[in-house]
Amino acid sequence: METLLSVRGLTKFFPVRRGVLLSRVVAQVRAVDDVSFDLHKGEILGLVGESGSGKTTTGRLIVRLLEATAGEVSFEGQSILDMTETAFRPLRRDMQFIFQDPYSSLNPRLTVGHTIAEPLRRHGVASGIPVRHRVQELMDIVGLPPRFSNRYPHEFSGGQRQRIGVARALALNPKLIVADEPVSALDVSIQAQVLNLLHRLRRDFGLSYLFIAHDLNVVQHLCERIAVMYLGKLVEVADRDALYAEPLHPYTQALISAIPVPSPRARRNRIILKGEIPSPMNPPEGCYFHPRCQARMNICMRERPRMREVKSGHHVACHLH
């Protein structure tokens, strides 16, 4: 399979500063710490993890909403992180982003038609009358009546707004869409609609997604491959079926055991994680997960496990494997 996006050793540290006038860096928050993965053409890769695991930061680093501390991202073989913003701008056509919060991601003072048309005008894809046609077409594609194009965002519901966000991302015919928890702010009934829309668009337009989520049900519904993050590091990457059938990392096992089963009689072996996610300012020695791990060994406290391919296509970073 052809690789669309390749991420190698991606790292983002946020400095913590003290002092007002001559501030100095007193600590680093390791939001994303040496993350590597590939995304193939036409696939949906799920990136899951709990709050603070660095999954959103990873997504933002890839589309350069944040500048990475270290590492490399290549898109269709082109290294993008050391490009200047101006040199990168044409490439933005190919990499779009869907935001988590549909209430904040649309400019409240612009009509939705204007919002959807903006990328078209900016990149000179269309101008004048063709822009209006394209906007109407895009609204139709995402399931909104095109006659609403001169309305303002506050006149739409959350699900409708998220569709507008999808239409904007779609306007430039991108190859990759990074979707940052696009349904987590929506009602469950609306979530399915938007997920189905994303699924249909992938089929119709040959898109690839990096789908960031914390909801394993959503990920299972949509993604073909899944990458699990914990405290800024990837712990396991595998095909969906392999991951759900046989999770290898103890953290993945705990996550999957926590998915509610819709049957009152189902017997489950729930793995309850002890404690809280440690502070990314001061992560534990050795394996980051060892303080909460039920399969902890001595080596886990000393040595950081490396990502290894233990089966075909199944990568895990754990001393057990």
Partner: protein, 299 residues
């Protein structure tokens, strides 16, 4: 026969007349009685200023030395001053100068203030530090003292008064703009503007500042009141507009010598004009703030 699709909320919603943001704003503004009073007072002042050349009964500078210091009468509705000039005509023409000073100085201040505050807030870092520390230096002086100092160097004239009031008002607008920009720039629509490849000046001026207009408008309205008052004070001190050009401040200035002689009309009537205009602008500013705040108005 087509059945109405009741399940589609979009269709149901469309059957009602929809209300635009502007309409919501107007409704909220009209519902606030004080705001409407303020708007009416300001409009009266503007009307008086614009039409002063036609509605003033006499030439504001025509002296009639045989009828000096007359109390209000049928001939002179608000009385005459020490040179026998008609006070009503002078106050009406004074409206022109006072409003022009207030309006133009704040328009100029808003231009620079929005530019400085917007750039400082959006770019942050060292640029923010430098720009805002300069603004703080200006704010550290009492504005009136600073204005007096600059005018003492430049010399009194209408143009200089406008310049000076604009300069001392810039930091006020810059502060408000910066704080509004700081909150808006964290919104995801700004990030979205970046993802679609908009350069920094488009993001700042089109997206961020468009959403900062409400607090800036309110601040500018209140500053117009302050500017008119400052012009009055400067003219009263003899640093503002030179006689015989009438402004509210110069009329007050001339009237102060006669208060003890029981010639009250020379001070009272320009004072009332100032008070009503200040009241109007402050009510208007408060009303705008409430009407522009989406949390106060109900959709």
């Amino acid at each position: 026969m087509a059945t109405p699709d009741l399940a589609d909320p979009l269709v149901a919603e469309d059957s009602q007349p929809r209300r635009s943001q502007f309409r919501l704003f107007v409704d909220a503004f009209i519902a606030n009685r004080l705001a409407v009073v303020g708007l009416v007072l300001v409009l009266i002042a503007v009307f008086a200023g614009v039409t002063a050349d036609w509605i003033a009964p006499q030439d504001p500078n025509a002296q009639n030395l045989s009828r000096r210091l007359e109390p209000p009468s049928a001939d002179y509705l608000l009385g005459t001053d020490q040179y026998g000039r008609d006070l009503l005509s002078r106050i009406l023409h004074g409206t022109q100068v006072s409003l022009a000073v207030g309006f133009f100085s704040i328009v100029i201040a808003s231009g620079f203030g929005v530019l400085f505050g917007g750039i400082a807030g959006y770019l942050g870092g060292i640029i923010d530090d430098i720009v805002m520390r300069i603004m703080d230096v200006f704010l550290a002086f009492p504005a009136l003292i600073l204005a007096i100092g600059i005018l003492a160097v430049l010399g009194p004239s209408v143009g200089n008064v406008i310049t000076v009031i604009a300069v001392v008002s810039i930091p006020q607008i810059a502060r408000v703009t910066r704080s509004a920009v700081l909150t808006q720039k964290e919104e995801e629509y700004v990030q979205a503007a970046r993802v679609i490849g908009l350069p920094v000046h488009v993001r700042l001026f089109k997206h961020v500042l468009l959403n900062c207009l409400a607090p800036i408008t309110v601040q500018a309205t209140l500053l117009v009141a302050w500017a008119i008052l400052t012009e009055t004070a400067l003219s009263f001190l003899g640093l503002g507009v030179r006689p015989p050009t009438p402004t509210w401040g110069t009329i007050l200035f001339e009237g102060k010598d006669y208060i003890l002689l029981n010639i009250w009309w020379m001070s009272l009537f320009p004072g009332i004009a100032i008070m009503l205009t200040m009241l109007g602008l402050n009510f208007l500013g408060d009303g705008l703030r409430d009407a522009l705040d989406p949390k106060v108005r109900t959709d």
